[in-house]
């Protein structure tokens, strides 16, 4: 414990400390000398390309590209067969960019698998790249190069490549001594130094700038460094001074005289977010120097060739043997561990220590904190500080102290403490040598758990990723399922294993895991040229809908069709059907549909609205004569002439006959017969008859007193007597031909009885005529007939005669308040009588 501050070095107001992350696992005989080195930020992998071998192009000694984890565990190694590499660097998603002299940029994943390449433009071919830098912005990873013609070209996002050639720097005759890329406010600029001049290059212009407060004696800039956030810029001058300021070059933060005139090998910013202290780390052969606001500096001696990796909250130092982290001691740690600190956290830590020793001093310390009401603050400080400590031992001590302090507080929200415990557990797990991701708490929070899991997945550390998902209770959908999907996508690329084995292994592990998209995995397999495997995998996909697009892509259209049907999603079925229609010849297409009734009926629906003729062909193919008949019937109504309609109807008759649908055939024949009649009448009487029903035709003939023709139709169409009588009486009543009606009533016995006569007369407001027929009405209908003509008394008589209670009730319901009292009594007594029976 007493040693926590042992590696602290004061610089101005703050302390800096250098902690060891790993003893490197790699075995580098020549150290880091003459290497191109790239280490990805956020504790990412390290790539090395041996420089010495790069220049001498002998077949025997090809340069070797090696990739290691941050702990120096080898991940990949292969001989470099491509062109001369100028610069290597990592993208935000841990892919390695190798930028060649000829402007070609090759992209590898961290296992050394070639991904793709792109070029920085044709102009480069001639002039070659003399220097390149990779930068990160909101858009992604960008590349900047400067060519032998001293022109800059930028690509702000390598995943959406748009090359931008920056304007020329006037009078630039030699390569710039140093330069840096700045991305700010969605703008990317280049700052470059040539002699004593500084320029800012943006899309449109080249602007000379002078940093405020720069020593006028400066005649050259040796080094330039932008901070991690691109907010600050540091310049190292030939006078040995470091100028630190904002990157817009409007404000100077400090200047420091290193007293070293030779250019440093590397200069990087070392600054915690929100820290007040600007600090830059400079490295020469054996010297590491931290310069800040004050006149002093911190100096470390370097035993070995080293490499600096700027991070969000400090600098990592990689050498042949060690991997270290240099950073400003965070406030909370300082408060607690600074010698003789009286901060609440420090007191709480002390109290807990005494408590462990079973000393009563614990109480004294606690009381001191509590008296100032600072216990919550103390607990918070300890929790916060635990996050910044690298050693699990120290973390534990701090967490225990805060837990101890928590006991004396009621209602203290537990989230911070619990969250920190969870986070530290995860951090310690990924910092482990075997994983080798030395993330700090601040970096972890900045990158988010999601990204961390992605990184683990990229490293193929699937079990650990799943463990973390489960531990942090990340919803399956974003957590375990996603990891498993990546695992499966990786698995399908293992070419040496047979399809069956892989499909089986994947299904075993994934099973019915929530929301696994087998189709995505299958798509991956298909991309790798493993169609059979893809089909096998698709079988596991529970969402039929998801299977369809890929099956179509793989030209398994039949299977796609049955899957679409299985999904129940008719739109999807339509999609496949349309696809099939365009892909296949008509015959095959129809045959396919024939085997899939669901698809067939949907396609029929489609044709019914969109392609009438195809519909006919479909029915024809299936020998569906009934539907063909219906089709022609429907079609006949689209025809504008009687002849055409007749022709269509004749077709319908033929089809109905083939379908053995006698009724429809006959009915349609009748329809044609009617059409012929109607046409004749239309010509003869110059009145429209066409499109009237038979009934209407007869009715209108009767109205026009064309009794002979009506009779003809009556016989020809075998209209039932009953209906013909109805037709006749309603027509006669309608034209108020009462005489004819009466004559007709006497022509023979009415098949519909005589009540309709009564009613039809009443309907046409002739009660007088109506009454004529009342006597002829049968006994059962007498009451109704009397009621129809409004003769209540007679109705009552009839009802009594019939001794029918319901009829009495009917009469009663027609009685109004004005009805004769005596009549009502009569009904009521009759009802009583009827009820008794």
């Amino acid at each position: 414990m007493a040693f926590v501050t042992a590696n602290w070095n004061p610089l101005g107001e703050a302390f800096y400390r250098k902690i060891e992350l790993y003893e490197m696992g790699w075995n580098l005989r020549e150290g880091l000398r003459d290497c191109l080195i790239a280490a990805a930020p956020y504790g990412g992998p390290i790539a090395l390309l041996k420089e010495s071998q790069r220049r001498e192009r002998s077949a025997s000694a090809r340069p070797l590209l090696e990739i290691y984890s941050a702990a120096g565990v080898p991940m990949a190694s292969f001989p470099w067969k491509s062109g001369v590499v100028v610069h290597i660097s990592w993208t935000v998603s841990d892919d390695l960019l190798c930028i060649q002299e000829d402007g070609t940029v090759l992209i590898y994943d961290m296992f050394g698998n070639f991904r793709r390449h792109f070029s920085m433009g044709n102009e480069v071919l001639q002039n070659q790249v003399i220097e390149a830098k990779v930068f990160h912005s909101a858009y992604g990873t960008g590349v900047a190069i400067v060519t032998g013609a001293f022109r800059f070209t930028l690509a702000t996002n390598i995943d959406d490549l748009k090359l931008r050639r920056l304007p020329e720097v006037p009078g630039l005759q030699v390569a710039p001594s140093c330069w840096a890329v700045l991305t700010q406010d969605r703008q990317t600029k280049v700052v470059l130094a040539s002699g004593k001049d500084l320029y800012v290059l943006d899309n449109t212009a080249c602007t000379p700038v002078t940093p405020p407060g720069i020593d006028p004696q400066v005649s050259s800039y040796f080094q330039m460094a932008a901070s991690f956030s691109y907010k600050y810029l540091a310049l190292f001058t030939d006078t040995g001074h470091v100028w630190m300021g904002t990157s817009n070059l409007k404000e100077k933060l400090s200047e420091f005289d290193t007293k070293v005139r030779s250019p440093p090998k590397q200069m990087v910013w070392c600054r915690r977010p929100k820290s007040q202290q600007p600090a830059v780390v400079l490295m020469w052969d054996r010297l590491l120097l931290v310069a800040g606001k004050c006149r002093e500096s911190i100096k470390y001696h370097l035993d070995e060739e080293s490499f600096l990796v700027p991070e969000l909250d400090g600098v990592r130092i990689v050498s042949r043997s060690f991997h270290e982290f240099l950073h400003e001691v965070p406030g909370a740690c300082e408060e607690i561990f600074k010698i003789a600190s009286m901060a609440p956290g420090a007191l709480l830590l002390e109290a807990h220590k005494e408590y462990e020793k079973e000393s009563q001093k614990a109480d004294e310390y606690l009381r001191e904190i509590k008296e100032q009401n600072l216990l919550p603050e103390a607990v918070r400080q300890c929790v916060e500080a635990a996050g910044f400590e690298h050693e699990p031992e120290t973390q534990k001590i701090l967490l225990r102290a805060s837990s101890f302090g928590k006991c004396f507080l009621s209602n203290f929200p537990p989230e911070q403490f619990v969250g920190m415990c969870l986070d530290l557990r995860v951090l310690n797990a990924v910092r482990d040598y075997s994983v080798g991701i030395p993330l700090t708490y601040a970096q972890y929070k900045q990158m988010t758990v999601q990204v961390l899991i992605d990184r683990l997945v990229f490293r193929r550390l699937y079990p650990l990723a799943i463990e973390i998902c489960r531990y942090l209770k990340i919803p399956e959908f974003q957590g375990v399922s996603r990891v498993l999907k990546h695992w499966a996508c990786f698995k399908v690329q293992q070419k040496e294993e047979p399809d069956d084995v892989i499909a089986c292994a994947i299904n075993q592990k994934l099973g019915d895991t929530a929301s696994i998209s087998y189709s995505e995995i299958a798509a991956r397999a298909y991309e790798c040229g493993r169609t059979e495997l893809a089909i096998k995998l698709l079988e596991f996909e529970p969402r039929s809908g998801e299977q369809v697009p890929l099956l179509l892509k793989m030209k398994r259209s039949q299977l796609a069709l049955s899957k679409a049907i299985e999904s129940g999603d008719t739109d999807l079925v339509y999609t496949v059907v349309t696809y099939l229609k365009n892909e296949m010849n008509r015959g095959d297409f129809f045959m396919t549909l024939r085997n899939q009734p669901v698809a067939l009926s949907l396609y029929r629906q489609f044709c019914k609205h969109q392609e009438q003729n195809t519909l006919k062909d479909l029915f024809n193919q299936d020998d569906d004569h009934q539907e063909l008949g219906n089709f022609y019937v429907r079609a006949s109504y689209g025809e504008g002439s009687v002849e055409a309609r007749m022709a269509a109807l004749q077709n319908a008759v033929d089809e109905f006959n083939k379908a053995k649908n006698e009724f429809s055939a006959k009915a349609t024949e009748e329809q044609m017969k009617l059409l012929r009649w109607q046409r004749r009448f239309q010509e003869e009487f110059d009145k429209p008859y066409l499109d009237c029903s038979l009934h209407e035709t007869v009715h209108s003939l009767l109205l026009d007193s064309k009794h002979k023709q009506a009779e003809q139709l009556y016989k020809d169409f075998r209209i039932p007597d009953k209906r013909f009588w109805w037709l006749k009486i309603s027509a006669l009543a309608e034209k108020e031909d009462w005489e004819e009606l009466e004559k007709f009533s006497k022509s023979k016995k009415s098949p519909i009885g005589y009540l309709p006569f009564v009613e039809i007369c009443v309907k046409h407001h002739n009660k007088y005529e109506a009454k004529k027929y009342v006597t002829k009405v049968t006994l059962e209908q007498k009451v109704k007939a009397h009621l129809a003509v409004g003769d209540l008394e007679q109705a009552v008589e009839a009802a009594i005669e019939r001794r029918s209670e319901s009829e009495l009730n009917l009469v009663l319901s027609r009685c109004t308040p004005t009805t004769d009292r005596a009549l009502l009594d009569k009904i009521n007594s009759a009802r009583a009588g009827a009820l008794k029976k």
């Binding site: 999609t575 669901v598 009617l674 519909i752």
Partner: protein, 619 residues
Amino acid sequence: MTRISGAWSSHDTVVLSVKMAAHLSYGRVNLNILREAARKELREFLDKCAGSKAIVWDEYLTGPFGLIAQYSLLKEHEVEKMFTLKAGRLPAADVKNIIFFVRPRLELMDIIAENVIGEDRQRSQRDFHILFVPRRSLLCEQRLEEQGVLGSFINIEEYILDLIPYDGDLLSMESESAFRECYLENDQTSLYHTAKGLMTLQALYGTIPQIFGKGECARHVANMMLRMKREFAGSQNQILPVFDSLLLLDRNVDLLTPLATQLTYEGLIDEVYSITNGYVKLPPEKFTQKKQGEGGKDLPTEPKKLQLNSAEELYAEIRDKNFNAVGSVLSKKAKIISAAFEERHNAKTVGEIKQFVSQLPHMQAARSSLANHTSIAELIKDITTSESFFDNLTVEQEFMTGVDTDKVNSYIEDCIAQQDPLIKILRLVCMQSVCNNGLKQKVLDYYKREILQTYGYEHLLTLSNLEKAGLLKPQTSTRNNYPTIRKTLKLWMEDINEQNPNDISYVYSGYAPLSVRLAQLLVRPGWRSIEEVLKMLPGPHFEERQQLPSGLHKKRQQGENRTTLVFFLGGVTYAEIAALRFLSQMEDGGTEYVIATTKLINGTCWIKSLMDKLEAPPF
């Protein structure tokens, strides 16, 4: 006085629109959650199209949308104009966005394309968007692409509006042709939407542990639900299930019920005036207030539009009663209200008067509600007391009780001869066929011929449709099993009490709807007791269980009712709804029902949906 009542009526509408959402939450299941979810999604979509907007409506959608969001909501999100989707050019509107709200239909896509192309020529700088309801369709997008306008749309999205809450216990998809598509055209799109809608419902109200069903379509929907559940396994929700079970019923299991004339108050309103999206349009004469001195001047010609739902206290009370029991309730109410108004004479102190005045709004609303329903009841009564209504009902009841169903019915004959409305004839003939398990070939052919000769040969296709749907069929060698079904399921009850019913048969004054009987028997004593009859009805019957995540098993309180969602595939009538509500209210029922359907139907609109309308161009 006149001015005051005028003011009231406007106040009234405000009250209604506020209540509009409230009545959805009164029921056992708070259906307002569903409505709120739908509203949220709508708002999110509208906000995606920044700036002023005009909506171009597929006219069919306006009704259902009205139940989700009023114009005020749209207005809040900068919707300034609304048009009906029509061919040709869009009307002028000074807005940034044009949004098409449409069903995914190809013919509509052609109209949209025409609109968009016409617009482009006017060199305007407007953004186009499409919102597909209830689902986007590749086929439609393809059509837009063929028309060369797909690229003109900034947003193409779907608005998943499957089940729309119509009342506190009622959901409908209002898909007009679901029955026709399923049973005639073998197009199961609406069943897919049903399954999706049920998934949405389960996402909001928890997994339904038990699924029962009867019929082919029910089986299909259940299969899709189970499949989708597997598909969504990851997003498994952790909601305590609100519904204990789901009963899926095919309409074709019970073809009889919708054919019969509904005799509940609401059912009759629907039969006579047809209720559309919760509104009914009535002849205005009965609703004019007789104003002194004005005589019969300027009678309104616009039909009176009334909203009908349980937000209206009186309506909630009488809607499900047999119409014969409505009159007494109305007169009782009238007495209570006038007594309440009389109170004012007794109010002496300022305090009493103040209290009276505070009750006024409620009383006024009750009075206007009473006036409305008295008028409606009078209108309906004119019809129910008519002879033709009586005769028609008599024949229906004869059929349902199995009287002379095997011969040609002379009443039907007479109706045909008098050219009564075709749909009335079809309802009767179909009913006879269903009650006789098919008609003798001779009888069937006779009816068909009569219909063709009287109403025109173009109805040949309609008849063919009815046969395909099983509504009209020739008797096959098997014997008529309808009497067995009727007896076993007690579909006909002799002693019914219309005033204080003790059985669901009151909704048809004697006939107990088969569908609802199935629901009733499922609860007690279970379907096992009626296996035989179930086999006689078309399609399989089944039971499925859905695993609940542990910890979500309901602990039922003593005496706590179960909640069952009954889903009618192919439509449900108001009388059936009334019957289920009656069961919910039975003291020893033990089950409360929430009803869902593809469409609220009555016999007329149902038969209409099965008709093929052929119209010839003039020669």
